[in-house]
Each structure stands twice: as C-alpha cells, then as structure tokens.
Symmetry: C2
Subunit: 421 residues, 2 copies
C-alpha cells in the first residue's frame, strides 16, 4: 500500500516538479479538472497585459505589424506542432475546435467526394464528444453522406466491411468520458487500408499524451487550446492538415485571413499556401496571447524530458489514483471506467457510480477536490502532469474515501443538478 | 473658415466630451483609425484581469457557472442589441464576423432554397469588404447559387429585374473604403418587394451610426466587435436574426454551445431556441470580457443622448474634416471620396490620391496622425465620436496640409509598402 509519505517521496523524485511553479493555483484546492479547463499560468497575466496595454493601447492599429499580431496564428501553431508530431507551418491556430472540425471535415468530405464518391459514410464513435457528432452530422447532411456511430471495439470490423464503405473516420484520440485512448497509428493504418480518410480530434491529447501525427500518417486533426494547453477559457483551437493534402484541399470558411494576400483586397478568394488557408477571420489577439503563454508551460518541460516525461508522469499519476481508489470503489458499488492498461489510457481517470455520481462530485468539490460529473454516471478526474502532485492524488483518494464513508454527499445541497459544466 | 480656437470651442460645447476619459489613448497621437481597431477603454484592463486572475485563476472550472461565463454571449449580445435596434435575446456574440456571416448566409440560402428555389443569385456590391465576398462565394457554391457583384447605384434596378431574380441581398451598411452608407430601410424594402432576403453587415455601423434592424425589417445581420465597439483586436463578432425567422432557420456550424442542452451530452443535435442556435463552440472568455468593457463605453453615452448624440457628433466631425481638407485636396490633385451629404455618410472620410496615397498616409503616421491606406488609392480617416475631438480634426487637417506642402512623403522610407494592415 502506498502511504502519504510515499507520495511525498514520489513528488521529491519527480523531474517535472519545478514546473508546478509556473502555475498560479488557488490554495486548498486539489485541481483535477485540467482536462476541462487548464489552470492559469503565472506568465499569462503579464503576457495578456502586454498585448492589451502596450500593443493594443499604445501601438494601436500598428501592432498588427509591429507586434507581430498577423503572425500569431502561425507562430503559436509552430509551438503546438512540437507537441503533436507536426512540423513548422503545419498547424493553424484559429476559431474554436468545433469550427475547425467543420473546416477539416468539409475538406475531407470534398476530397472523398472527388476521389471516392461511392463512399457515403462518416464513421465515428457513439460516445465521441457531442460537438464533434453535431458538426459531423451537419457536414454529412451537406455532402449527402451518413454519419454512422458505432462502439470503439467495432471500428476495425466496420472499416473492413466494404459493402457500404466509410469515406471518413472521425475519432477523438482520447475519449472525454472514459479516458480510453485509441492507438492512432494502428487505427489510421486500418482506415487507410480500408480506403478511408482519418480525422483526429486531439482535444484530450495535445499536451497530455504523446502524439505524432506525421508518424501515424494521419490526414487531418484538430485540437483544443483550453484543456492541457492551458490557454484559458474558450482559447483558440487549432487545425492540422497532412502536407500531402494541404495544397489540394479546400475549406468553406474562406475568410480573408486565409487569403493569399488579405490586404490586396481583391474580390476573388485565392487561398494562401499551406495550412494558412484554414484561417478565416481576424485572430483574437488577447486570447491568442493567453494561449501562447499556456503552450509555453508545456515547452518549458523540454529540458526535463518533454512530452515523454509528461506522459511518464501522467501514467504514474493515473496508475497511483487507480490503485488507491479501486478498493474504495469496490466497497461502494463503484467501478473504474478508464482502462487499467496505461498504454490505452489518456491523462484522466473516470469512475462510475450507478446512481449518485453527481452529488459525490459536489461533495468532493466542497472539500476542495475539483473533478467533474459527466452524465449519466461518470465521476471524472483529470491529471495534468505539469501541476498535479502525487500527494494531490493521495489526498484526493482519501477525500473520496471520506465522502463515501461519511455519506456527506447525501446533503440536500448536492441533490439537484444546478450547474451546467 | 474654422480656426483652431473654433475647434477648441466646439470641444468645450460637446455634450460627449467627458467620454474621451473612458479611453487610454497614447499621448501625441491623433488616432483616426478606430474604424479599423477601436482604442483601449480604461476599464478593459481591470475587466480582463478579473476574468483572468479571479475568475479563471481562482474560480477555475466553476466560473462557467459562478462567474456567468456561460451567459456572456447572450448578455453582451443584449448590450449590443441596444445599439442596433434589436431586442433582448436577438443578438448572439461569438466567433468572427466572417464565421457569423457564413452562418447567416447559409441560413438564408437554405430558406431561399426551400421557398424560392428558382432564385439563384446572391447579390452584393462590387467593393463590399472582401471577406464578405469570399464567404458569400463559398456559400453560393455550396448551394448552387451565383454571387453577382454590382455597383451600389445599380442595386434597386437589379433587384427589380426578375428575369434572373436575386434570392439574397448581402450588403455592408457602411462601405469600408468610401464610407458611403446605404439607406437600410429603403434598400431592405426594395429587397423584400423584389422577393429577396436582406442580410446586413454592420462592421462599420454598430456604435458609429444609428441602426434600427427591427424598424428596417431586416432579415439577418452580423457585425464586428473590434471597430467602433472597442472590443480589442480580433474581438468576438455578433449575429442577429429577425424573430420572424429565428425559430425556423438552421445554420451549419452546429456546435454544442448552440444546442438546447449542451451538458446533456446527447448524440443528436437539437438547436437551442432563438438566436442561441447561432452559437457554436466554447466562448472565448478573455476576449468576451474585453468586448463587454468595450460595449460599455458606448452605453456610457446613454445619459448624454446615446446613439443619436454619437451620430450628431460623428456628422459634425466628418463635416468639419471635409470642409478643412477640401481646399487642400483641390490644391494637390486629391479628392474627397466619401459622400458630402452626411445622411449617406458613415463615420469616416476617405480621400483619394491617384498615385501616392500610401506614402502620404505613412508621412502622416510619422507625425502622429494615424489613418490608413486602402489599395489602390484611398487615404482613410475614421472618426470615433467617443474619443475624437474637434481639435484633433483641425490638427489632422493641418498636418495633411503640411505633409503635402513640404513633400515630406517623398522620403524613401515611405516608398515601399512594408506593412500589411
């Protein structure tokens, strides 16, 4: 059995331990929800203040040139690229994840329509994040395709079934509910062998697990700026397109920032070279500055082993949490939903309680242990290796045991779901 | 002839003069580019800092509920509504102007396709802002329509021509180059009489001129947050839909924030009631906080006469500038492009120089008079009534006279266009 002293010792041996100092975390809170909203980096305030007061306030319109605002979608994209196995000039930062998914799915649907018009199916997972399904459904309808939702276990067989072949396979790399992670390379290989285009959503992967889009030979990807990238609430998202496609594909949100020469003010749209054609409107500079500072917190891990070290710590944290809460779960009719095999696990641990997940999560939050509830039965705990300590994991499991043993979650304040996130 | 003393007197008689104190303007700069990027309000830093440090840093994920983040697109929308003749719950704040235009144009194209499939034309103005034309072109292609570009003077005749009838009329209320303003009511009436749907871009109108979307009986509108609304570089934009359409229309960017119950995490998209269905991804909270503070600078004019007073001052400022620069223009082979009739003029004055617009603008910027150049021949000067003084107008005209008289714009530093905005 691991003791609290063991956890303290794991922290003092942790090569990434100093990186926690890069975050401004509230005291008396064990924050296990960085998979929903990453914590505030210490550097963000000054970075945003500079963009706001110096660049906007003093530089005014000239800052589009002199402060490099025009280049931010590309420069922040190049930073993110280093976390996901992409190259420079392959990642565009813009808009929201949903909007970027619309762009890449439409680009893929057009490519499919041109090359394989007989393929009428967009394949995805039944419990993929809903916004992905909503956007896919819209794209399917616009292109005369059908969105087919299946279980993760059936993906390979369904791809192999060529009687009604899939044209597009759209998956979220790490599942938002269960934390189960696909083998990106194997699934992409399988999609390609079956003639389908592979589109990956990295919302719960970028900055949390090792991703190598080019090694996996993926076709398109999108990702989120406000989870493990610590870019702040509603931070800009990103889009990636494999360089074998990027010159030939087109996307429908043909705004001026994706034009080859926006300030020529021509009436005809001519897309920029490369992934820049996936930009649309004017970049949100304050949000982009915050995202820039957020991504820097991950690049700061470079000298301590980078993404492999982050991934190793993530596995150690989630392994420890699973080992500590498993006996508690057993005692209280709960179970661990996240894969026990760390090779197919993201950086979260989800527990299921058949009836009372919501009030249990609220009772934990009352104690300062912040996870979240995902209907209908999931208690979700995210572990951000940059700022989560082993002692936090230990204490969180103790709080869970106490909440369940005391029955304090029965408190009527926790009975009615009053919040929205 | 108006003297500098006259201008000083106009400032001291200006009922809006105290509102300039709500902005943090650099000293020694006469900023005449608020039509491209509004100036930084004094209140913005504290508002953004609060969203960043207290709400995000301390409140973390709970702030989606406790700090009202979820409601911001609607609440800021209700504030903007008061500036454009819309009602509460009619304006959604989200994404960029280009993305919102894609949503409303697609909604309109679907409506047209269902009701008037024989109408194959999206009509717009040849020198509409390019991103509007690029987006319209994309929507036209997706719906088997044709984007037809004509001169403003020909709009009524073209609408009346029913041999190849227009289904959609998409116009920017105030032209970004010339500052010419359409009569929204008359043109909308004309569109409706001809069976077309009227879509207005308010990028250069919202916060600058009086707009009454409901009185004009417009169908759809979008607008920009970072010009006269002072929301900061790349601020969120907005979309408006007339209530007679809002329940029946659909838009393709069906992200989870436009779902009737985002946190039910259902697989099927069911749009929210009202304009909320025009939301898509997670709102960019830092940018939204800045926009909120920006819109407040306009609402602060309420006690001094509100939009009618802002409009009256805008006309007085632009009238004064035109009267002062007209003789200078005449002397130097330039002309005033903006309508002399203030009833059809936005809040800017554009001058044309056949050959040397760019270096003249650069020489003015060197003197601290910030306007901008719009290819191929436009020198553009925006007048934001909240912070532009009559004495600024006077001094700017003196600087223009001096730049032209001295020929200092011949300096080789100004010869090559090196910037992008």
């Amino acid at each position: 059995m691991t003791t609290r002293d063991d956890a303290v010792r794991l922290d003092s041996d942790d090569p990434l331990r100093s990186l926690r100092d890069n975050f401004q975390l509230p005291t008396n809170v064990i924050y296990l929800d960085g998979n929903s909203l990453g914590a505030l980096p210490v550097a963000t305030s000054a970075r945003v203040e500079q963009a706001m007061v110096q660049e906007w306030g003093t530089g005014l319109i000239s800052s589009w040139n002199t402060a490099g605002w025009m280049q931010m979608p590309r420069l922040v994209g190049d930073k993110i690229a280093r976390l996901i196995g992409a190259r420079d000039d392959e990642v565009a930062v813009a808009d929201s994840t949903s909007v970027n998914l619309f762009k890449v799915l439409t680009a893929a649907a057009r490519m499919n329509g041109a090359k394989n018009p007989e393929r009428r199916v967009i394949l995805s997972e039944r419990d993929n994040f809903p916004t992905d399904l909503y956007i896919a459904s819209s794209v399917a309808e616009a292109h005369g395709l059908r969105l087919e939702l299946i279980d993760a276990a059936d993906i390979k067989d369904r791809l192999a079934d060529q009687s009604d072949p899939a044209g597009l396979l759209m998956l979220t790399h790490v599942n938002y509910r269960t934390g189960a992670m696909h083998d990106m390379q194997a699934v992409t290989d399988c999609a390609h062998a079956a003639g389908a285009i592979a589109i990956w959503d990295l919302a719960h992967s970028a900055g949390a697990v090792e991703v190598d889009l080019n090694a996996a030979d993926a076709d398109f990807a999108v990702g989120c700026g406000y989870k493990y990238l610590n870019g702040g609430p509603g931070a800009p998202a990103f889009a990636w397109v494999h360089r074998r496609h990027v010159d030939s594909v087109s996307q429908p949100l043909s705004g001026w920032m994706g034009h080859v020469a926006p300030f020529d003010f021509t009436t005809d749209y001519r897309p920029a070279a490369g992934v820049a054609k996936f930009l649309c409107g004017s970049p949100a500079i304050l949000a982009m500055a915050a995202l820039d500072a957020g991504v820097d917190t991950l690049l700061a891990a470079h000298d301590f082993g980078g993404m492999p070290a982050i991934r190793a710590k993530s596995i150690a944290l989630t392994d420890l949490f699973i080992s500590l809460v498993s006996p508690i779960c057993e005692q209280h009719g709960m179970n661990v939903v996240t894969p026990l095999d760390s090779r197919v696990r993201g950086s979260q641990v989800s527990l299921a309680h058949p009836d009372h997940g919501y009030p249990i999560v609220q009772a934990l939050i009352e104690r300062g242990v912040v996870g979240d509830f995902r209907a209908t039965d999931i208690l979700r705990f995210g572990f951000t290796p940059l700022y989560t300590r082993f002692v936090d994991v230990y204490d969180a499991s103790e709080h869970l045991a106490a909440v369940l043993a005391s029955g304090e979650w029965h408190d009527e304040r926790f009975a009615v779901r009053s919040d929205v996130t």
